[in-house]
């Protein structure tokens, strides 16, 4: 999950990394007040979870509090990448003499975190790494042993940085590495990390990403930052349909029947598991189908959950039929899913044989499941029918057979 810049700055400050004087404003008046307190030139920055703020006009400079208020008023109304801002950050403009970059990410192949440091800050680090590889230093570090400052020092010194700059940068990078581990980040980045004219260093911007899996154990930090459980912080805001999917999944702890993503087609999908859903979604599209949604079933959900998910998809405007398909199941029971989706149809007043385009879930308890499907006249397939073939049949039922090639 991504943090807004103002939250990232709070995390960086908590770790003891110095920062320019700043404040978050939700109105033009608040922006003016913060600018008055700063009592100097400021920069007004849109608080959106989207890159390219500068290009979109979401970053403006102001010399007076009145000018700050004017810019804030404009930026607060400016949509960037489909998002309205949470507010604006009013940041003092520091006299910077040089910009550095410091970041920490995971290296999935080495299976360790890696620190990145560059003396060319202010631009995208991937761009620097491509065009000026000799200006990027990297160093992996242990997650078992406590982080020791010399590791940061060695990283920075490897780019030829010495003198007081080295001694002032070392604790900043070391604190960044420690906060990366302590707060389960997947990205912790200070860019630019500014060297001021007096030789001191401050974080001029920060970007933090926390691992979703760590949210339960990072509750204290999230609470402190005011981030609610309902904020998914995916690349786009969840739709009401997707939030309803979350509710279906959270009604009990047995298995998964959720992870819903909304699309705008006419074929509702009740699919699983992780890899099966990815394969099936591709397969439906490869056969010219138009999915209404993506979702995942797995880990043996209750009848209630399977039913809830099927109902949600069936009731989505524009959905003509649903396809119930999974890769061969090991612990999810075929009969339980069959019961759930049939119950959903019946309770909504539909004929399951009509509404369920195909049921293709082979595996555990399949004989019991197929018996139930037989009783309701639902077309089903066992493992001899491939995922792609099942998807093709579902698409054909909803769109009719593919038109013969023109002669």
């Amino acid at each position: 999950m991504r943090f807004f810049e103002y939250e990232s700055r709070a995390i960086v400050a908590k770790a003891g990394i110095p920062m320019t004087k700043h404040g978050l404003a939700k109105t033009a008046d608040e922006a003016r007040r913060i600018a008055e307190q700063i009592a100097g030139p400021v920069v007004i920055k849109s608080q959106v979870l989207s890159g390219g703020r500068m290009k979109a006009g979401g970053v403006k400079f102001a010399d007076t509090p009145d000018e700050a208020a004017r810019h804030a008023e404009h930026i607060l109304d400016l949509e960037i990448g489909g998002h309205m801002p949470r507010g604006v950050l009013v940041d003092s403009r520091a006299p910077v003499q040089h910009e550095y970059y410091a970041g920490v990410v995971w290296d999935g192949l080495r299976k360790r975190p890696v620190m990145l440091f560059s003396d060319m800050g202010g631009i995208d680090i991937e761009e620097v790494a491509e065009q000026h590889p000799d200006h990027v230093a990297r160093r992996h570090f242990s997650t078992l042993r406590p982080f020791s400052d010399w590791q940061a020092k060695q990283l920075i010194a490897s780019l030829g940085v010495s003198g007081s700059a080295l001694n002032r940068l070392t604790p900043i990078v070391a604190r960044l590495a420690r906060l990366f581990l302590a707060y389960d980040m997947t990205l912790a980045e200070i860019n630019p990390l500014g060297e001021l004219e007096d030789g001191s260093f401050v974080a001029l911007d920060a970007h933090m990403d926390m691992e979703n899996e760590a949210r339960p154990r990072q509750k204290a930090l999230l609470h402190e930052l005011g981030v609610g459980d309902e904020e998914t912080r995916q690349a786009r805001e969840p739709t009401p349909f997707e939030l309803a999917g979350e509710q279906v999944d959270s009604q009990d702890h047995r298995g998964v029947a959720g992870n819903v993503t909304e699309f705008d087609g006419n074929l509702g999908l009740v699919i699983g598991a992780g890899g099966g859903s990815l394969t099936l979604f591709d397969a439906v599209r490869a056969h010219g189908g138009d999915p209404a949604n993506y979702c995942e079933i797995g880990g043996n959900p209750s009848v209630r959950k399977a039913c809830g998910l099927a109902k949600l998809v069936l009731q989505k405007p524009g959905v003509d039929k649903i396809a119930v398909m999974m890769s061969i199941v090991s612990n999810t029971r075929v009969d339980i899913v069959a019961r759930g989706v049939i119950k959903a149809c019946v309770e909504l007043g539909y004929d399951p044989a009509e509404k369920i385009a195909i049921f293709r879930i082979p595996g555990a308890w399949e004989d019991e499941g197929f018996q139930i499907l037989d009783r309701y006249g639902v077309e089903y397939a066992d493992r001899s029918v491939s995922l792609h073939e099942a998807a093709r049949r579902a698409v054909e039922k909803i769109q009719g057979p593919p038109a013969p090639a023109a002669v």
Binding site: R112, D184, L387
Partner: protein, 305 residues
Amino acid sequence: MPVLIDETTTFIVQGITGREAVNLTRECLDYGKGAKIVGGVTPGRLGRDVHGVPVFDTVAQAVEHHGSPIDGSVVTVPPSFTKDAVFEAIENGVKLVVIVTERIPRGDVAQMVELASERGVRIIGPNCLGIIVPDVVKMGGIGGPAKDAAKSYTPGPVGVISRSGGMTTEMSSTLTAAGLGQSTAVSIGGDAIIGSTYAELMPLFEADPETEAIVIYTEPGGRMEAELARWVTENKSRLPIVAFMAGRFMDEMPGMSFGHAGTIVEGKEDTASEKIARLAEAGIVVAGEIAEIPGIVRDRMGAAV
């Protein structure tokens, strides 16, 4: 000799009294020649038994009861306790740890993997279904109940490595239906950091005389397909590899994660189309559909002879 495990492999189940672990234990005992599950561990449940397997409070008690080192452990404890359970297994001499648990933060996984590599221990997973040697033994929930696993898996020349547990069985079942059995199938897990990647398992399959080809299931996210492509090229592998790539639609939706935690695309090399190109450069055929895999495997095995 199969890869990683055979009928002599002894193992324990950590978290054995949990609902899914009880099923998993039954399945492994019933499958093939019957797994040698020498104990289970759930703190506070010493003295119970699960399908005849004695339950202990600690791994040390299980080892003492067994009287000699135990080869492996299947870890099925909740995410917040997994790291501790894996550390306990490693420090008590277990050499192969299969981590079933999902939703473990990467920081914990990295610690487990780091300790494992210091102690010479192999980790499979997390977020995986384990390992199966058809008709011989399975370690984990892979394939489900013994009678279902027997429908999907048969002995033969194809090694299977997959980031999805369900798709390990789906692909093996397709191979079986086409008359191509499997030497060993490994569900390696769907997380961003896992104990054993394709490239790390390749040397084992390479050294296994029964394996003549490899089938892999891949997804967007991470660099392990690129790592495999590099390994194959550098080591001039004797084994033809056929890959299936799911989640191609994700290329149109940057920043979104689907299916498994590890599918989150964090760099431009992580996309489906980029990976397909990498694999193809290394001579790895990427099948468009699962049903095409057996035919391609046959062609490639023929070509390799």
